[in-house]
Amino acid sequence: MSGRRVSGMQAWALQRITAVYLALYITYMIGFFIIAPPVSHDAWQLWIGQPHVSMAMLLFFGALLFHAWVGIRNILIDYIKPFGLRLTLLILTGLGLMACGAWSLEVVMSARIV
């Protein structure tokens, strides 16, 4: 029982910590695209290829995946009652998010190896 409570508390904290980073990053990126949108492929790749930009972007994807996991998990647990269907959707969500994580890692790192 206490284990479950701690787990819920961790999810709650994780959701808020990632939310703060996501809010700051997305605000910055919207501003970036409004003020100085990339003009060419070369400029875009050079920008992302900078260590601090790619690290911030990888951190963004990491935060997004954990944030999405907690959120979608809560929604599935609230609305999907049949256990088998709920478990299937939870597993598919988890696998999908992990695939997105691996894919985003590959894409961001590819911009650095030029």
Partner: protein, 125 residues
């Protein structure tokens, strides 16, 4: 004798009464699911834009197409609603804005303000 009122325990969205804060809250969930579903599309476009000048041009063309602009507007609403509703959630966590009139007022503000902000950003992008 006092009888305990039978309270229904369910999350049937068609039977639940929806005050303004509930609409803001369900909007928080809907916008979250929308962003979740668009995530692979975003990674795909990022991948394509980094593949080379042709890929970059394709992504620019997609963003300038009617469908691209429509989806971007939807995404901007989802992002702004989710962001504002999330900030409201965190402020309530630290006991700011829990009192009833203010609680409902911030729910209304989040619900209504997300649209014009999203639209303005979409026009600026």
């Amino acid at each position: 004798m006092m009888t305990t009122k039978q309270r229904p325990i369910h999350l049937d969205l068609r039977r639940i009464r929806m005050p303004i804060n509930a609409i803001t809250s369900i909007g928080h969930r809907i916008s979250g699911v929308l962003i979740f579903l668009l995530m692979p599309v975003g990674i795909f476009l990022l991948d394509l834009s980094l593949m080379g000048p042709d890929g970059f041009a394709t992504v620019v063309a997609l963003f300038n197409s009617f469908l691209g602009k429509a989806i971007l507007l939807l995404l901007m609403w989802a992002l702004m609603h989710h962001l504002l509703a999330g900030l409201r959630c965190i402020s309530i966590d630290i006991h700011l804005g829990v009192e009833k009139p203010f609680f409902l007022k911030t729910a209304r503000i989040v619900l209504l303000v997300a649209f014009p902000i999203a639209f303005l950003l979409w026009v600026a992008l």
